[in-house]
């Protein structure tokens, strides 16, 4: 973890209520995709935790972070109005992130809504490590879809679902996965799942496949770095703090 200032390079709307912010600063402490930052926002007391979508590392530990967030409250509303050049205080490299090494050859990457952004960083790392990635990205409707092209550019087989059927496969991510399973063979040859999204999506995925996996969870946080016990959850391996011991839990430890 590092407490450090970042400068906003760009901040633009990329889907309905969804924004992509790029910021420059020190990225030296990040160790894994799926980690998050906690952002101080003027006029609000608590920092706002946002997962990291992508890191472009440059020299001397500096780099550019991409954050994708949905406007859901006061904090994200203020963020959406921020302009280029604004300086923000961030706590960086929070949480454990995904362990891409657990995947040997072929990964099923699943993202739902604003759970999609961290899956971009995971996909990028898996592909860098020479692994095959099938990315299933779920959204509510066509207006909510983002980053389909970016996943394709990384080299992932990318499938988009929408709940209302206005784009891609109609239904949830698990419906797309069922189709792959029926097809069988290479279409459903995965040795690890990586997932982030709303809890009902994670639970449906958990029940829909036998593949081992890592699931990233969300919870309201106080500090974001393990001090306040605001975001605790129970696991088969004991009590964990979503912010410090998570947000990524392995499938074996989740109690459902």
């Amino acid at each position: 973890m590092e407490k450090t200032n970042f400068v906003i390079n760009s901040n633009k709307k990329i889907a309905s209520d969804v924004y992509e912010m790029k910021l420059s600063g020190s990225v030296k402490d990040f160790t894994a995709p799926g980690q998050f930052v906690n952002i101080a926002i003027e006029g609000l007391y608590l920092r706002r935790p946002i997962s990291v979508c992508n890191i472009e590392a440059k020299e001397n530990g500096q780099g550019e972070l991409t954050l994708i967030y949905k406007v859901v409250g006061k904090g994200t509303e203020k963020m959406s109005a921020m302009t280029e050049g604004t300086v923000l205080s961030l706590l960086t490299a929070l949480g454990n992130g995904f362990d891409t090494k657990r995947c040997e050859k072929s990964a099923l990457v699943v993202g739902g809504g604003v759970g999609v952004p961290p899956m971009y960083g995971v996909t990028k790392k898996l592909i860098e490590e020479g692994k095959k990635v099938t990315a299933v990205l779920g959204f509510n409707g066509a207006g909510d879809v983002f980053y389909e092209e970016e996943f394709k550019k990384l080299g992932a087989k990318t499938v988009v679902t929408t709940a209302d059927g206005s784009y891609g496969i109609k239904g949830f991510v698990t419906d797309a996965i069922k189709i792959m399973e029926t097809e069988g063979g290479e279409a459903y040859d995965f040795d690890e799942t990586f997932a982030c999204g709303p809890e009902p999506m994670l639970k449906a995925l958990y029940n829909a496949t036998d593949i081992t996996g890592q699931y990233s969870f969300e919870e309201r946080m106080g500090c974001g770095f393990g001090a306040c016990m605001g975001c605790s959850c129970k696991t088969k391996y004991g009590n964990k703090r979503i912010c410090k011991d998570g947000p990524v839990l392995v499938k074996e430890e989740i109690i459902w």
């Binding site: 007391y45 608590l46 001090a227 605790s232």
Partner: protein
Amino acid sequence: MVSLKTKLGDWELDNPIIPASGTFGFGYEFAELYDINMLGTFSFKGTTKEARFGNDTPRIAECTAGMINSVGLQNPGVEAVMEKELPKLAKVFNKKVIANISGFSEEEYVYCAEKIGKSDMVGIVEVNISCPNVHNGGMSFGTSAESAEKITAAVKKVTDKTVYVKLSPNVTNIVEIAKGCEAGGADGLSLINTMMGMRINLKTKKPVIANKMGGFSGPAIFPVAVRMVYQVYEAVKLPIIGMGGVSSAEDVIEMMLAGASAVQVGAENLVNPYACKDIIEALPGAMEKYGINNLYDIIGGAH
């Protein structure tokens, strides 16, 4: 050269800054960031007889200039604290600590105080009779002078350690409770714990926090804390650790002028993990600005 030194009874502290219980864990998260030996001391996470998971989530809500928490005394239990947490803490902290304990009955307070009092690392046992987040979780002991006196006396009987009682602001008259603790033999007082608060989500039209209500803390409650420290200082002869919304060196000076011998910093640690370090480093400049050479000399200076 200004002096930041202060005293809690016979215990001389290098400076008055003490991270408050529940906002600093057992210190390790912060020890990764800076040398926590620069602190006056710190008060570790509230400990109970049995291990507790605490309340359901969400446990946290944002407020104007503050936050509500309803953690519900999550802790591994006093035995695990002594066997696992304190030895780990000893590796990163070489001063004595404040052991914050809670209970659901007099027997539980006594049990925890007796156990934790045996640790050489403990300088003060801070008896929390004011947790707002668990049913019957101590706060009932902190809302009447008689029960506060009884718990204090019972704890004093089983430990040789210095005993501070942590008071709730959620009472009609905090001075009466403070007097009860004094009558029970308390060596000092810590005040204030969080204030009962609540937020409602306009989208779901339901309370934000799973436990509905929680403890409100942060800069918004600072004036209430100053007022209560001021009132209690006038009424009892015990040293006071003042807390509630402290977030700057100026706040520390104000709290000490009200009557605090040392000052705890709580919620601010959660939004700025360097808060205590920043405050300690800012104190000499703030003291010079207000013509203060020796912090110890200003305790109760506003009276």
